[in-house]
């Protein structure tokens, strides 16, 4: 749905983006990851047509993106704020109309969302009276109100308590199920694993890792497995095959072992060897978390 082709952007003195390409499939959640200052915000601003690329292009549904397309994009910036002196309702209405909604449509949609997130009582409050989390809720609503095709959320969970973070997470998933394409930029790797199908990891203006989350985790496999058995496993039996067995803390009379195999041995071969030595209660591969992959990739 969204394609970024060979985009570069130079700011005086440094390159913010260097030959960045990515493809966001429709109706999915796409993770945009990277350490601070990697160039994520610049890329997001280019997709939003807030700035233009020096070279390369951004295609939306196969067409080169224009400022008019911004009407079909919802953008929740990381650095976000509201007019402090304005009333919540007025402000939401103003932002909705800037996105091209008519006053009536905007009022209807606002009513729906305010009821859904149970914040009707805030309509006439001034923004400065709201807590940070409350203001975040209002901002989330103003971002999704005009039913954008493409939603760009930069750290959407920051400032929320766990209850509200869960609430917002549910809304994001609901929006995806309704057909919205979502770009999620966050440092919260747990939510990336939970929500994103594909990711791009940007580091120092370059894309250093890209693809399906599960595939990436599989590719970063450390060939480590967790085995639970009622038997006792003797490490020396398998050492000749290159298998390293480390006992772990067990409980409920189960013994647990961390097992690491040589990279060229298949999982089935390993399982076969293990079955010869004990009766397996459970056997599972330990994939690295996105957090580990992030740190490993970035600090390379």
């Amino acid at each position: 749905m969204l394609q970024v082709n060979h985009v570069s952007k130079q700011y005086a003195g440094h390159k913010a983006l260097d030959d960045v390409s990515l493809h966001v499939p429709a109706h999915s959640i796409y993770g945009l990851l990277g350490p601070n200052g990697a160039g994520k915000t610049t890329l997001i601003r280019i997709i939003n047509t807030i700035t233009g690329p020096d070279s390369g292009e951004v295609l939306l549904n196969g067409r080169r993106i224009t400022p008019d397309d911004a009407l079909h994009i919802g953008y929740l910036p990381e650095e976000r704020g509201l007019y402090k002196k304005m009333k919540v309702g007025e402000q939401a209405l103003f932002l909705a109309r800037l996105k091209g909604m008519s006053k009536n449509d905007a009022l209807k949609a606002l009513k729906y969302w305010f009821e859904k997130l149970e914040i009707q009582a805030w309509w006439d409050k001034k923004v400065e009276e709201l807590s940070k989390g409350m203001a975040q809720k209002v901002q989330f609503i103003t971002t999704v109100l005009h039913e954008p095709e493409l939603l760009i959320l930069d750290e959407p969970f920051s400032g929320f308590d766990p209850v509200n973070a869960e609430l917002i997470k549910k809304e994001i998933l609901a929006l995806r199920d309704k057909g919205t394409t979502i770009i999620l930029s966050t440092h919260n790797m747990a939510s990336v694993e939970e929500l994103c199908e594909n990711i791009s990891l940007i580091n120092q203006s370059h894309i250093v890792l890209q693809g399906n989350v599960e595939e990436i985790r599989a590719a970063h496999s450390t060939n480590t497995f967790l085995l639970a058995t009622h038997d006792t496993l003797a490490a020396e039996n398998l050492a000749t095959e290159g298998i390293v067995i480390t006992p772990q803390n067990g409980k409920n009379k189960l013994n647990r072992y961390a097992i690491s195999k040589p990279a060229d041995m298949s999982n089935n071969k390993l399982l076969g060897l293990l079955l010869d030595n004990c009766s397996v209660t459970s056997f599972e591969e330990v994939l690295p978390t996105m957090n580990e992959i992030f740190i490993k990739t970035v600090s390379k």
Partner: protein, 440 residues
């Protein structure tokens, strides 16, 4: 268009509905009218307390001069001053003791007014007026020339030069240099104030949006240039609204209050007082009104108003866009000094240039400063009431329009980059870089 309209609407509404705006807009005309009318009103309040004066006239010449009336009663006595003073001690009934020691025609200093409190100027004026008139009459009578009083009245002269300005058709217009000066200075001052105040509002508005971090949300819906222009135009409308309300309220209030006041007071009285003080003959009330009206009608107020609005808008747009650029370049209001000072200096200079230009509206300072766009909105306004050749007006305004187009374009480029720049200390060098960034 509709989006810039939305931004203008928001800027306008939130500012006009602010309590401080409403208060200031309502209170200023009331204050202004009060400043104009209160002295007038106070002067109409007459002091009706009776003045009791004991006269010790050693010369015995002036009993006829000092006649009792509603306010003043005179008692003639030959008792010594001290006796009177002691008998009146602490009673507060006596205004004073008028002691005339000799013939005033030969020595005008031979009269003293004693009193417990400092004698009122009004009382002293009244007494000396009576005595003056009496002595004068006596002197005139002593010359034994028939009709001398009439002859003297005739001889009295007061030259009053009327200034007449030829307009382009060669028609004559009554004018007044003082009035031109007043009209010019007032318009220049108002423009000066509005540029500084509303330019400053544009700047702090931009800074607020930037520090609030709302700007990124908005520029994802509208172009930064639209946001900037929307703010500038919205605030200009707020300024015009305030100006219009001030004019309407001031005129309305002063005509209602002033009308009532003048109806209840005796206009001629007032003029007599002021005329006497200035030592000039007193024209009748109708004359003054006609004179002022004649002078005012010598000015083309429609032209003045149109020029005022044009130069106000031109000057405001020129400076407001620069203020917006400054606002976009800084992180907080306290950082603005290094950039806003170079903006305020030409405005303040323009005011001084305007003051000197008023003395010599066709001199080289006035001429050049009314062409330079950074000073012309203020200086030209001072010159207009004195009459400015059409080519100068057109040239000056054309330069102004071109300049504000230029500064707006420049400001737009700086603004576009500046509003999304956080945590970077901006310098002039930095601003120059932003200015030269390639557009998409």
């Amino acid at each position: 268009m509709s989006k810039i309209g939305l931004i203008i609407e928001r800027e306008y509404k939130t500012r006009v509905l602010k309590k401080s705006f409403i208060l200031l807009t309502l209170l200023t005309p009331i204050l202004l009218v009060a400043v104009m009318l209160v002295p007038l009103w106070l002067s109409t309040i007459k002091d009706d307390t009776e003045q009791h004066i004991v006269v010790i006239d050693k010369s015995g010449l002036y009993e006829a001069a000092l006649q009792n009336n509603e306010t003043y009663t005179f008692d003639f006595t030959n008792r010594p001053i001290d006796t009177i003073r002691n008998s009146q001690q602490g009673k507060n009934e006596l205004t004073g003791i008028l002691y005339i020691s000799g013939n005033l025609a030969t020595d005008t200093a031979q009269v003293i007014l004693y009193s417990d409190k400092q004698a009122k100027v009004e009382t002293v004026d009244y007494l000396s007026g009576l005595l003056n008139k009496y002595v004068e009459d006596q002197k005139i009578a002593s010359y034994n020339i028939p009709n001398l009083r009439e002859m003297m009245e005739n001889a009295r002269t007061d030259i009053n030069i009327t200034t007449v300005k030829w307009d382009e058709d060669g028609k004559e217009k009554e004018s007044s240099a003082e009035l031109a000066l007043i009209i010019g200075m007032i318009s220049a001052l108002v423009i000066y104030m509005f540029i500084l105040i509303y330019g400053g509002q544009v700047m702090s508005g931009v800074i607020q949006e930037k520090t609030n971090r709302i700007v990124e949300v908005i520029v994802s819906s509208v172009k930064p240039f639209e946001l900037m222009m929307g703010k500038i135009i919205g605030i200009a409308l707020v300024g015009l609204t305030q100006m219009l309300l001030w004019v309407l309220l001031t005129v309305g209030l002063s005509s209602i209050l002033g009308g009532n006041l003048l109806a209840t007071s005796d206009m001629n009285d007032l003029q007599t007082i002021s005329g006497m003080q200035a030592g000039q003959p007193v024209p009748s009330g109708d004359n003054i009104a006609a004179e002022i009206y004649g002078m005012l009608s010598g000015y083309d107020f429609v032209q003045l108003l149109v020029m005022f609005i044009l130069y106000f808008l031109g000057g405001y747009l020129l400076y407001a866009s620069l203020f917006a650029a400054v606002g976009s370049a800084v992180e907080s209001e306290t950082d603005t000094n290094q950039f806003s000072l170079p903006l305020s200096i030409p405005i303040i200079f323009a005011l001084y240039a305007a003051i000197y230009s008023a003395q010599n509206p066709d001199g080289p300072l006035a001429f050049w400063c009314s062409l330079i766009p950074f000073t012309s909105p203020i200086v030209m306004l001072v010159r207009i009431p004195f009459g400015v050749p059409a080519w100068q007006l057109i040239l000056s305004f054309a330069i102004l329009v071109l300049s504000f187009a230029g500064t707006t374009w420049m400001a737009g480029k700086i603004y576009r980059t500046g509003i999304l720049m956080y945590g970077k200390k901006s310098s002039w060098k930095e601003l120059w870089k932003w200015l030269t960034y390639r557009t998409r």
